[in-house]
Symmetry: C2
Amino acid sequence: MRAYNTEIISVGTELLLGHITNTDARDISEMLSKIGINVKYHTVVGDNPERLRACVQTAKGRADIIITTGGLGPTCDDLTKQVLAEAFGLPLVRNEDEVRGLYDYIRNRRVFTQNNFSQAMLPEGCTVFHNLWGTAPGCAFTAEGKTVIMMPGPPVECVPMFRAYGIPYLRALSDEEIVSHSVRIFGIGESTVDDMFADEMNSMVNPTMAPYAKECDCLLQITAKAASEAEAEAMMAPVISHVRERLGDYVYGMDVECLEEAVFPLLKERGLTFAAAESCTGGEIAKRMTDIPGASAVFVGGAVVYTNEAKARLLDLDPDMIEEKGAVSFEVAKALAERVREKTGADIGIGVTGLAGPDGDGVHEVGTVYVSMAVEGRTFVRSLSLGPKRTRSFIRRMSGNHAYDMMRRWLTGLEVELRP
Amino acid sequence: MRAYNTEIISVGTELLLGHITNTDARDISEMLSKIGINVKYHTVVGDNPERLRACVQTAKGRADIIITTGGLGPTCDDLTKQVLAEAFGLPLVRNEDEVRGLYDYIRNRRVFTQNNFSQAMLPEGCTVFHNLWGTAPGCAFTAEGKTVIMMPGPPVECVPMFRAYGIPYLRALSDEEIVSHSVRIFGIGESTVDDMFADEMNSMVNPTMAPYAKECDCLLQITAKAASEAEAEAMMAPVISHVRERLGDYVYGMDVECLEEAVFPLLKERGLTFAAAESCTGGEIAKRMTDIPGASAVFVGGAVVYTNEAKARLLDLDPDMIEEKGAVSFEVAKALAERVREKTGADIGIGVTGLAGPDGDGVHEVGTVYVSMAVEGRTFVRSLSLGPKRTRSFIRRMSGNHAYDMMRRWLTGLEVELRP
């Protein structure tokens, strides 16, 4: 089986200055791993022809497939096509289809500017990838035994274009399948997971297994290579069973990205809905569920009650109770979940109140959060101490994870409270 | 002035498989650019000693400072310290302070596992960076004329550690300051901005200016290098005035990351508050404002009214009106802003209703969104066609940007409606 080693070269000084994150390399890598193409290197280089030229030479020496992102657009510092074409001895020629396409695209949009035309200059003999999401076309060619693919930099163009054109172009090259599954874990840390499976992992060759820490949870990634997908799946099945058995109810899902993605189908299958009343998470829980297309089947809505007044006005919480117990309290959390459930008619009510920091309230430590879940006849409250050294973003995300974990556990008949 | 060229090498197969994004390289690059250190390359390589060794050799040939992220933790596939120490001929020695530190850290936390101890093996003579945010220490050393800094991979550890230890360690090396300002623009595209300033940008050397496209807005970055910060600022001042004058009210802020960051101080200075009633944005607007510490001074809260029932129950919208006009309508948007304003007592009410896709409602095109703003005595509604080819994420974020842009314009006395 021939492995096609791939290098992704992302071109852009804005990446080196830290103005933007290289999500293109991540998204392309993810798509490639699913079709059995190994990414061996990501390289980021600035808008500098000399350094890009050197990086392309290095890539020619260690990769079979070179994918570039960035530097195809209409701004003056574009250079990727020139350097790549030159590196493989190809002239750039004006593509008349693309010139017409550019006219069509902008007819009903913003003003067309002269520098848009440089986008239509492409390496001779290349396959042109017409850009339906922007103006700069991508392209691909094979020369000197290497395959080169060039994609525009903006993620809203790069990602759908790579999916539409890059993947089909490359799929024919691969003669092995890599299949990978992730076992997602919430409630114990990566270090503990690693220790549980360290001996096994060290002796595994194919499939392989590795633990990864995410911001607020962790996962075990199991990967097999085989001639066919079915063969790879058969190789992994016993490993997955074993891992799931040992981890028990800390496993919240397979091949999902986050807890809400695991909770969504659980609610949907059961025809149940939830609503959320969020104080310190400020819309985090709602935003995360509504990131999922079709969320309206399970998510009714909710209230962001960032101030005490909003808690009273939107959810009719008793101002005296808030005053007496404090906004960050077991009682307020409980009332938020119960009131939002009643008020919206949802089957499950979620409440969150706490201190996400960086400033404290003089009473509680930053990271003190109460997460609650009200269901018919019962309300659960988790009292969390997420730690004063954690970031605001971590505290908010982790609080959301606890809310989703409580729903997951209740929906699947598990104990809602985490074992200490 | 000596320039210290820097390469960031991020180690982790999970990066090459696209499981995670290399935010560490972005965050470190941003911190370095602020102290005048040029990042010339980012490299990502897997958990493979041979390939990492080759990357380190390449970096030794083209960089003065090598910064690694990842591969210091307790999992079995850690290898960064071994490879880097070997590349510079240093043995790894057990650091007793770190061994004690590891015991302290975990005493009240999760179970301590044997493989945690490998973390305390560090290159002989290095400066140890004790990890207050996790367990794996970082370190730095200078050898063969190169400076090497190693950081753990998880962003919640890497970023605060680099700020606390890496930046002070490196600051002494730099003898020039790079100062950079960004002019943030909403309402016209990067291509138009580029065309406006192309000739000037081409002839600029120091300061430089370059346009960048973000997901839902764009910016002009102006950067100067000088012996002192004051000198760099003086060099940029006339350029910034000129740019601001030409772009007019499309400029929403300087050195801010997003529209909400520009709106927050405008509200705060005026002692005004807002509330949001979100349908298709599902908490996006609330989440974005509450990402900002201290948001409670300006953001009262709001309602996520994802279903028609929630619109009626939480905000008392007339179900007959929703039925008659349709959930995605000018009238519902208007009512959402007005009702959430009344209900919460906020000074400004924001409403959003629309179709974020991917599925349509059989009536409107995906990307049809109404964004509204109610203030004392008046309600504004923007009717948007964001395009059916746009992602759900883009449509939601862009809708949020319009809401914040409407507030910005109203708060600064500009026309709320965008010129066509």
